[in-house]
């Protein structure tokens, strides 16, 4: 198979591996993910945006896990690379917190993927309609604090925002299982299986499941076979592309600097987008960044359509 065709094949992703200081545990989880066939993993930091002054709004993104050559060997043989991304999940409850989650904050843009977990209906609607996020995550392990509505969900799908269903809590505990199933099936009736991302939130390596197994869980929740397989592969890639357009001007031009090239691993440093703030723009002009729009004009960030 030609290399270009290989790149279009399903690339299984798990976009919710909770980041913890316990690097040994994290390494085991990532190694298990590689063994199961995942090609892309996102280390997730969950934070409630800080409200006290002097404290950084969000912590800086975590460093990728060190993986040995032996673990990465199967990837190298096939000519693929294992991708470790960073993801931020902001738990938002008040409008104040909502405003903290915006692409102007450089620490936030340093993360590859931006996700949000709304705790009430107002935040959910804000996340679906306006917020510049890639994934909306709902805590499915309890009765949802608000009823899902069709209009915000339709709006979110049109914008290219994805909804996340997490499966490890269902595996861990049989009582949580029924909440996950009932919330997930409810979500399915509204979004009809589109724009769903299935991910693990596994705290131990034993809680991970292979990508085809997870796709079958999607079928259980109410998707059909094709949608379920998309939920672990193509929809994740779609969310990632949506995230990348945040760092670009008009969704077309972006700058990437390839940092180190250890065989089998690509880590990419994204240069944050041209800020919409006029003062910052004038400051940036000295660095010679490529800009499509003249300073002062807000670059329009358009959500990219799903690319298969």
């Amino acid at each position: 198979m030609r290399n270009s065709e290989k790149n279009k094949m399903a690339r299984f992703c798990d976009f919710n591996v909770p980041y913890s200081e316990n690097t040994e545990n994290l390494r085991q989880i990532v190694e298990m993910a590689i063994k199961l066939g995942y090609e892309s993993v996102a280390l997730n930091c969950t934070v409630t945006p800080g409200t006290t002054k002097g404290q950084a709004v969000v912590p800086p993104p975590p460093k990728p896990v060190e993986l040995s050559e032996a673990t990465l060997a199967p990837f190298m043989v096939q000519g693929k690379a294992f991708q470790q991304l960073t993801r931020l999940t902001a738990i938002i409850e008040t409008h104040e917190q909502k405003y903290k989650v915006n692409p102007n904050n450089s620490t936030i843009t340093a993360y590859d993927i931006l996700a949000v977990q709304p705790l009430n209906l107002k935040m959910f609607e804000a996340a679906c309609k306006e917020l510049e996020v890639d994934i909306i995550s709902l805590d499915m392990t309890q009765k949802l604090p608000f009823f899902l509505r069709l209009t915000p969900i339709k709006r979110a799908i049109a914008r290219g925002v994805h909804f996340e269903i997490v499966y490890a809590p269902a595996i861990r505990d049989s009582t949580l299982r029924r909440y996950v199933i009932s919330n997930a099936t409810d979500l399915m009736t509204f979004c009809k299986g589109k724009n769903i991302v299935l991910s693990s939130q596994a705290e131990k390596a034993i809680e991970l499941r292979g990508p085809h197994d997870v796709a079958n869980l999607g079928v259980l929740f109410g998707m059909n076979q094709a949608q379920a397989k998309d939920a672990v592969s193509i929809n994740c890639r779609s969310a990632l592309l949506h995230a990348e357009t945040r760092g670009s001007a008009v969704g077309v031009i972006s700058i990437e600097r390839i940092m180190k090239q250890t065989p089998g691993v690509i880590s990419v440093e994204r240069i944050p987008s041209a800020s919409t703030d006029k003062r910052a723009l004038e400051k940036d002009s000295g660095e010679g960044q490529d800009r499509e729009d003249p300073p002062g004009k807000k670059p329009k960030l358009v959500a990219k359509k799903k690319i298969k």
């Binding site: 069709l150 299982r177 029924r178 199933i181 009932s182 099936t185 409810d186 509204f190």
Partner: protein, 161 residues
């Protein structure tokens, strides 16, 4: 557009002893139905079934129970109801009983209309079962209460024997 459609199952609680000794509440019936679904259909069944399920009406004297479920879960509910073998009797024990499904309707109003008709036929037999005058009047009152529909209030005259 996305409106959940429901089905209302009207069932009669049957137990051997004709006298009403047991205190059966909505919560008790809800717990019994939920437990039987869990036993038969497991975690998956409970997850699908519980949202939208509730016990809408219960009449201890005529022993009528109305359970609501979502339209797609009707088969699960209807097939699980016969498996209920006993209910807690409020004193820590359990009394043997079963639920006899009488009618399935699409709305509470439809079920109520059917219930009125059913009561008209069954009331004479029910009154015969009551021993004291006080029980008879209580029975009559509960039947009248159950047959009152908001749009057309039934008067006592129509339900008189």
């Amino acid at each position: 557009m996305v409106r959940f459609k429901h089905r209302y199952v009207l069932a009669e609680l049957v137990f051997g002893n004709d006298l009403l000794v047991y205190n059966v509440t909505q919560r008790v019936v809800y717990a019994a139905v939920r437990d039987i679904i869990e036993q038969l259909h497991g975690g998956y069944g409970i997850g699908l079934f519980t949202p939208g399920m509730s016990v809408k009406y219960i009449n201890e004297y005529t022993r009528m129970v109305m359970v609501r479920c979502r339209r797609e879960n009707l088969k699960i509910l209807a097939s699980a109801i016969p498996f209920i073998k006993h209910l807690p009797d409020g004193k820590g024990g359990q009394f043997p009983c079963f639920l006899r499904t009488l009618h399935v309707g699409g709305s509470i109003k439809a079920c109520q209309k059917w219930l009125v008709q059913h009561n008209r036929q069954v009331l004479p037999t029910l009154l015969l079962r009551c021993t004291s005058e006080e029980e008879k009047s209580r029975m009559r009152k509960s039947i009248f209460d159950s047959t009152i529909v908001k749009e057309e209030p039934w008067t006592e005259g129509k339900n008189d024997t």
